[in-house]
């Protein structure tokens, strides 16, 4: 007697798998949990209006108006390719140039926008300011910029913490994002 072994037909298996694959392709998103990280200041009413006088020389002022035009240290500017280097020299001035910052601790990059400034412009400039700081940190820690940011993202690993602390030593991330002015909306 010819015994036929029972078999599950598997010709359609690929089709089923494709169907599942398309389902997952359509319904899922790649998680995007990266971006420009900042820390907000404490709540407005919790901080008493402190009369701390910040010397003019310790402020690097970047202002953007409602039509995304730029004012750097009071001078209108179109080309922003050198801005990163300017911020770096400003922060690391250490009192050499009497017009520029005293120490990296005192140096503040002040970034003021208008209510009408677009988010795209805001991100573009914030990116440049952060790039300047991360470059300084990375150099001080002796790693590349990308490596430093990777380390800063996960401080639970001791080596990362070490790199982070070494890079940040003596140079706080003084980026002040001021409340926007109310010209445009």
């Amino acid at each position: 007697m010819a015994r036929t072994t029972p078999e599950i037909p598997n010709a359609s298996m690929a089709d089923i798998a494709f169907l599942l694959l398309t389902f997952f392709l359509v319904t899922t998103t790649m998680p995007n949990n990266s971006g420009l990280s900042i820390a907000l200041p404490p709540p407005p009413e919790a901080t008493p209006p402190d009369e701390v006088k910040i010397q003019e020389r310790n402020m690097f002022k970047i202002q953007v108006n409602s039509s995304d035009a730029l004012l750097i240290e009071g001078v209108p500017r179109e080309d922003i390719s050198d801005l990163k280097e300017e911020i770096k020299t400003f922060v690391l001035n250490n009192g050499r140039n009497p017009e520029s910052s005293d120490t990296p601790e005192k140096a503040i990059v002040s970034f003021k926008t208008d209510r009408g400034t677009s988010h795209k412009r805001f991100i573009q400039l914030l990116d440049i300011i952060q790039a300047a700081y991360y470059d300084i940190y990375a150099e001080q820690a002796g790693v590349t910029n990308a490596k430093f940011r990777e380390a800063a993202s996960d401080l639970s690993i001791p080596q990362n913490k070490e790199i982070y602390d070494k890079g940040r030593a003596g140079i706080p991330l003084n980026i002040s994002i001021a409340d926007p002015t109310k010209v445009g909306n």
């Binding site: 598997n10 298996m13 690929a14 798998a17 494709f18 599942l20 694959l21 997952f24 392709l25 319904t27 899922t28 998103t29 790649m30 998680p31 995007n32 949990n33 990266s34 971006g35 420009l36 990280s37 900042i38 820390a39 907000l40 200041p41 404490p42 709540p43 407005p44 926008t113 208008d114 209510r115 009408g116 400034t117 677009s118 988010h119 795209k120 805001f122 991100i123 573009q124 914030l126 990116d127 952060q130 790039a131 991360y134 590349t144 910029n145 990308a146 940011r149 990777e150 800063a152 993202s153 996960d154 639970s156 409340d179 926007p180 109310k182 445009g184 909306n185």
Partner: protein, 155 residues
């Protein structure tokens, strides 16, 4: 003459027996690396690009806010709106929303909540700064402006 004998005609076929395996492999890849879409986003999301990205490691501590023009202007108008989970909220509701999000976390991690702002590139600073002020009031001060990686990363 026989040197240039015609090759015997063998039917060329791509073996398909391993196709299910290949497809399953792809399937598993997508199942593992992606997440199910929890909310349908009703605002425009043209996320800007930047170079200096930082990654958030703990996904459970992240709360997302979507800001942009509604994708259905006929229903919701053209003004940029804030979407939290599945609903549009006003800036003044953010404190309550943050507290809800915090209460979902274990007690010792509540203060580590990070708000990820997914903002359309054409949204205006005014609305975003209103959100920031509310977040400061709600004491959720870790903030991330969600951006994509700029392709030509200047080192």
């Amino acid at each position: 003459m026989s040197k240039f004998k015609k090759k015997n005609q063998v039917k060329q076929e791509i073996p398909t027996s391993s196709m299910p395996d290949v497809v399953f492999m792809l399937l598993f890849f997508f199942m593992v690396t992606t997440e199910l879409r929890e909310t349908s986003i009703e605002v425009k999301q043209g996320i800007p690009r930047a170079t200096q990205l930082r990654k958030l490691m703990r996904k459970s501590l992240v709360a997302n806010l979507y800001i942009g023009e509604p994708t259905k202007p006929a229903l919701y108008g053209k003004e940029p709106k804030i979407q939290a989970d599945d609903v549009f909220i006003e800036a003044k509701d953010i404190v309550r929303w943050v507290n809800e999000k915090k209460s979902e976390l274990p007690e010792n991690e509540r203060e580590q909540i990070t708000v990820s702002l997914k903002v359309d590139r054409d949204a205006k600073r005014g609305l975003i700064s209103d959100v920031e002020i509310e977040l400061r009031k709600a004491n959720a001060r870790k903030l991330l402006y969600s951006t994509l990686q700029e392709k030509d990363e200047a080192k």
